[in-house]
């Protein structure tokens, strides 16, 4: 299955950030998003995840196909690592947490509180959620922030394993993950040429 967007326009807050953007990711492929800060990578990923409905254009997949990992880790300092993993597993109805724990070598950390983890360990825990979702398209926003090089390699392995199952990933990143099956899309070329709508607050709020 291809994951395609056609003539997409996305909005962040009251500003249209991207317009006329089209791409297609084949199953087993990854799409790397590039572009300067503020060029709309996060906006595009939030749009794909269904957080901000597109202003124009269409997507060939539903928001329920997308596993979104944001800049923020979305972790609770008061919970233990094991509790965090169990929580997301039951939200997504995943029965087997072992692959997620193994992929990011979390087993030595299971009894620790999230507050006692380093930045990189928190990132690993946050990324492990992706494997619990069971969703076919990963939309990742700077996933390698604060990871050391060995963990980046592990992360790239996890992405490769995901792609090898005939699934896909869209990753905003500035480093080279060494993925073979990756296309690159520079989002800075898709600036909108039209003015923003008059009432962006209510526009589309009830659709």
């Amino acid at each position: 299955m291809d994951y395609a967007a056609t003539n997409l326009a996305c909005r962040r807050g009251d500003r249209t950030v991207l317009a006329g953007l089209s791409f297609s990711v084949a199953a087993g492929k990854a799409l790397i998003l590039r572009g300067a800060n503020g060029s709309g990578k996060t906006t595009l990923l939030r749009c794909l995840a269904g957080l901000t409905p597109p202003v124009a254009g269409s997507l060939s997949f539903a928001a329920d196909d997308v596993a979104y990992a944001a800049h923020d880790n979305g972790l609770k300092a008061q919970l233990r690592v094991a509790e965090t993993i169990e929580f997301w597993a039951s939200i997504y109805g995943a029965t087997d947490t072992a692959p997620a724990v193994d992929a990011f070598t979390l087993s030595p950390l299971m009894t620790r509180h999230v507050a006692a983890l380093s930045a990189g360990q928190k990132r690993r825990l946050s990324l492990s959620r992706l494997l619990l979702t069971g969703r076919p398209l990963w939309a990742l926003d700077e996933p390698t922030v604060s990871l050391d090089s060995a963990t980046v390699t592990k992360f790239a392995d996890a992405v490769r394993a995901h792609l090898a199952q005939g699934r896909a990933a869209i990753i905003a990143t500035h480093i080279d993950l060494g993925l073979d099956a990756a296309d690159v899309l520079d989002v800075s070329g898709f600036k909108p040429s039209v003015a923003d709508a008059q009432d962006p607050f209510l526009d589309g709020a009830f659709t």
């Binding site: 909005r11 807050g13 939030r46 995840a49 269904g50 957080l51 901000t52 409905p53 928001a63 329920d64 997308v66 596993a67 979104y68 944001a70 800049h71 923020d72 880790n73 979305g74 972790l75 609770k76 008061q78 919970l79 509790e83 169990e86 929580f87 039951s90 939200i91 997504y92 109805g93 959620r129 607050f201 709020a205 009830f206």
Partner: protein, 218 residues
């Protein structure tokens, strides 16, 4: 949904969760009022239903801005919004968790604190029944207010302004039921009206809350 409820309760009870904040405020208020009013048990007994209801309402307000704010700040709300749970379910669970950690303790503490305020014995069961029926409405309405202000830093003041007018009917019916109980009249009419109000809020508010969240996450 149960996982989310359990997580919210665990977070509320663990360090920094704010469990007991509302209850402590309620206790302090009800302990201080007799000192402020002076040694007049009869007067105290007459104002006790109103004091208890206002105290419960303010205690409820105190913890509202935590309902979504913390989840919003650390990115959890984005992840919950993209999870298989519908946002309406998230809103209901959050309101229920808020009631369990704030409303229910108030209901349980109301009877002993009523004694402290010289609340007439005949009013006691109706005060507790009124709080039990009314506090769920306070939680669901408050959750809606919290969803409207979720993107704002320190939106507590705005929540109070938005939510207080919506709290008025519950306060009126609740205090009226307790007053009627104290005077030996039948309190069923205000109690039934309040029960209806609460049922309506529980049915409608999660949808409004989810719409407000969607708007604020965009």
């Amino acid at each position: 949904m149960i996982a989310l409820l359990r997580r919210d309760l665990v977070l509320a009870v663990r360090a920094g969760g704010g469990f007991g904040l509302g209850l402590a405020f309620f206790l302090i208020l009800c302990v201080l009022v007799p000192f402020g009013v002076g040694p007049e048990p009869a007067l105290l007994g007459r104002i006790a239903p109103g004091v208890l209801w206002v105290g419960a309402l303010l205690a409820c307000l105190l913890s509202l801005d935590r309902i979504f704010q913390l989840d919003f700040e650390d990115g959890t709300l984005d992840l919950l919004a993209t999870s298989p749970l519908p946002l309406e379910a998230v809103a209901s669970v959050k309101a229920f968790a808020h009631w369990l950690t704030t409303g229910l303790p108030l209901v349980l503490a109301a009877a002993p604190l009523g004694l402290l305020l010289n609340l007439p014995g005949a009013a006691m069961p109706w005060l507790v029944a009124g709080l039990a029926l009314g506090t769920p409405a306070l939680s669901v309405i408050g959750t809606f207010g919290a969803a409207l202000t979720v993107g704002l830093k320190r939106g507590g003041l705005l929540i109070s302004l938005l939510v207080l007018p919506l709290y008025m009917p519950t306060l009126l019916f609740g205090a009226e039921a307790a007053r009627r109980g104290a005077e030996g009249l039948s309190p069923t009419t205000p109690l039934l009206l309040m029960a209806g109000l609460t049922a309506g809020c529980i049915a409608v508010m999660p949808f409004a809350t989810a719409a407000a969240l969607r708007m604020n996450l965009r």
